[in-house]
Symmetry: C2
Subunit: 496 residues, 2 copies
């Protein structure tokens, strides 16, 4: 057996443990009965511990060091080794005790968050979150020297990302997008009232499946279930699952979560299964992952062409609510810009103010300039400042998102990065795919999916996010593409 | 940390791995998309390997040996150590090569069995089963010296069971039950035709949940899902799940699978959660496990009192089929005795002929007095002899059950043991619980469930099956209780 095959075997074993954990997590958020939580937390912690032991074994380290100077490897193999060695060295910084403590704290914080959100009581959540923030601060310290401690966390989701770069980017968001949204607000507003009537649950469910199918999601390699917060997870590229949430008085939730999670899932289904467990079989970064969901959600799903093709399906499913709505008004409703409290239901412009707020809060929490107890007030003040809104309850404010309860600090910025990458990629796709908009209107997703498979999915982590962006579009991430897209589209929609 | 706490920690970790595998298996049988199968098999194999390594670690062996002479332990602790040391030494007898060979052969045999059953071709299955039988014969040899080689396999499911004792027991079954069933066959037969009309799936599902709830199944510590073969699984005593199968033209399947699996699940929910991972937190044996499912299914679920309380629910759910059926006829239908080809749908009397046949075949296979190629003819001759039936195809004959394809030889006899234990336990329960039948009729399961919790569930593996039976009923397993129960009930039902 060659050293590289030995490495491959070890990586597959580690992946087996991580994907087993993913199954336990999926079950926890979809079907697990409430009393199952305590032992589930322990089981996940044990798996995390074993995964960590394998990821930091002396044997793996020696093998990686040997392989890192093996000139006979292919370019892909070399990049896998380089990436795995980096991960290995990062993993070594975590003690088994820390990993298990973190895993257990996350499970408890998640349970506390669910309860706190349900009964609108931040105090139930605060002590768990405090413990978790403390662990994340420790993590920033032992991960090494960065220009900013928050960089250590950002890098877990977006390798290479820097707090300083994000500050520049979000300054653009603040300057350009705030001004643009104000221009929209000064115009006569469109309505989407008809999206908040009564929409049968089962019909919505079926429609969601149909939208996924149309995108090219492979139901033999996945399924859709219900959960309180929609997500995508995978246990290999041949078992990639999405969840959705149906709101009987808001048709938007199902539509946007299905298309969004579908975009994530198409990426995972498109990763090369023969590279299971290796960097070349994994997504580049969360920013690139989000570029896939946002591209389908916004650049495709909120486009004129998409609804020209799909509006009649909605009218057929819900004639009592939509038969009398004309297409123009419907398309406007799909693209209403209106400051709102909840990130996941925000329009594609004000969405970035939600991310901006979380970015500022996370940075301050990690710096230690604010504490967990300050969060509700701080949050509410920011929503007033950027969105002009009074937050009526913590459930609709600081408790709305799952991420912090999972210990995911540094994750939110990737949502904005994803939208900006999506705009840049889609701009390129339109140049390279003949009649892309017409294909979308016909409900034919194949040309676009093939393009994404060929340009993004197939490579796994072979290229970094920056390399990939340059390879596809000829330049680094550039906010200009998003602003161009937004300006063109909303100028027309709002007669600016 | 004391040695005993160290032992407890190691056992909990092993249990975490095994229960994680159980979650992956549950998902595989309920929700996993088809393409997920390949990597799922690999993930399960990795978990099994890690579980085996932990179960046979030198560290665990040394700890168990030290603890086995620790006089300061409580009686429960001593029994846990004794049991764990026995398991440890048994596990050591398996070489890694044998475990891998067995695991591989089982996967191949299982796949071959599925195909063979589907296309009704035993020859596709035979060569794989031959290899598997050969491995099981080897296993019997290296597991140690037993009075009969088949004992080694029986003991995996029913610790302490002996081939010789089962021969005596099944001689009673043959002599007494065959004669009794012939007496029934000579009488005018009852009908259950109305159980095979059209029964709405959703209504059946709801009814099943209601039956489980009435038994005292805790839905906060469990749930019901659909699968092609009903089963119970657990990931702790606080997450115990059942599955059922709904047949729209046979109401029996849902009813009996819900009550049967519910009985298994009540046992698991009743095991002490603080003993998680230790013998004192585990079921005694498959025979005792089956006693719990059979007690609810037959002694409760097929009783006059049970249907006095529940028949109206069925009539309300399915008035078109059941409104005109009188109660007496319905009760008779719940207890129809009629030789049939398929074990899983057999009545509670002829059921044991199915088990008897499998017991005789397994014994002969392990002894080497018959070979795999003889199975179809041997099977068919036995079905003619004991049930008076001509087997029309191997799919409805020797290929019907999954067990052998999984290498589970020695498992079937526990089904009969379970029924016989159930009759003996229920006889005692009736003596000790005031107005038990009246409580059942009222739909109040609490007195019986409390009795089972107090007499069976709470002890885990503290007592062996034989010790437990003596403790509860004052004597060892005695077939007389089953025959008394059967004679009294069916004499009345068939006017014998």
């Amino acid at each position: 057996m060659t050293n590289y095959s030995k490495y491959r075997g070890m990586m597959r074993k580690i992946a087996d443990i991580q994907y087993a954990s993913a199954v336990l997590n999926w079950d926890q958020e979809t079907y697990m009965p409430p009393k199952g939580a305590t032992f589930r937390a322990q089981q996940l912690s044990t798996l995390a511990g074993i995964g960590h032991e394998l990821s930091t074994s002396k044997e793996l380290g020696e093998l990686l060091n040997t392989l890192s100077s093996d000139a006979s490897l292919s370019e892909k193999e070399k990049r896998n080794i380089k990436q795995s060695l980096k991960n290995y060295n990062d993993n070594l910084k975590y003690t088994t005790e820390f990993v298990q403590e973190l895993s257990k704290t996350i499970s408890e914080t998640f349970q506390a968050w669910q309860k706190a959100k349900e009964v609108n009581n931040f105090a139930l959540y605060a002590p768990h979150l405090e413990k978790l923030v403390e662990l994340k601060r420790q993590e920033c310290k032992f991960l090494g020297t960065f220009a900013h401690p928050y960089d250590a966390l950002l890098n877990q989701y977006e390798p290479g990302a820097k707090t300083a770069d994000l500050e520049t980017l979000f300054t653009d968001v603040r300057n350009q997008l705030v001004t643009f949204v104000k221009k929209i607000a000064a115009k006569p507003q469109n309505t989407d009232n008809f999206m908040f009537l009564q929409f049968d649950k089962t019909k919505q469910w079926e429609l969601g499946l149909d939208l996924l199918k149309q995108m090219g999601y492979d139901f033999d390699a996945g399924r859709q279930d219900a959960s309180s917060h929609p997500f995508t997870t995978n246990f290999s590229s041949e078992d990639v699952r999405v969840t959705t949430r149906i709101n009987e008085t808001d048709l938007n939730e199902m539509i946007w979560s299905c298309i969004h999670e579908g975009g994530h899932a198409l990426y995972e289904q498109g990763l090369p299964s023969e590279e299971y467990g290796l960097p070349s079989g994994e997504y580049v970064s969360l920013g690139i992952h989000e570029s896939q969901s946002r591209l389908w959600e916004n650049n495709v799903g909120r486009s004129l062409a998409y609804w020209k093709g799909n509006f009649s399906k909605l009218q057929t499913a819900f004639p009592e609510n939509l038969k009398s709505i004309n297409f123009e008004d419907f398309y406007k409703a799909m693209n209403i810009v209106k400051p709102s409290l909840i990130r996941t239901s925000a329009d594609e412009l004000t969405y970035h103010f939600h991310v901006l707020i979380r970015f500022e809060i996370e940075k301050a929490l990690i710096e230690g300039t604010i504490e967990v107890k300050d969060l509700p007030n701080y949050w509410n003040a920011k929503y007033k400042e950027y969105l002009g809104l009074d937050v009526p309850s913590d459930s609709k404010g600081v408790l709305q998102d799952i991420h912090w309860s999972h210990g995911s600090f540094g994750y939110f910025p990737t949502y904005s990065l994803g939208s900006f990458y999506a705009a840049q990629f889609f701009n390129q796709a339109k140049k390279e795919i003949t009649d892309l908009e017409f294909e979308i209107e016909k409900g034919n997703s194949k040309p676009l999916l093939d393009w994404l498979r060929g340009n993004v999915h197939q490579y796994g982590k072979f290229y970094s996010a920056e390399e990939l962006c340059i390879k596809i579009t000829g330049e680094k991430l550039n906010f200009k593409y998003f602003m161009d897209y937004a300006t063109k589209k909303y100028t027309q929609l709002y007669n600016l």
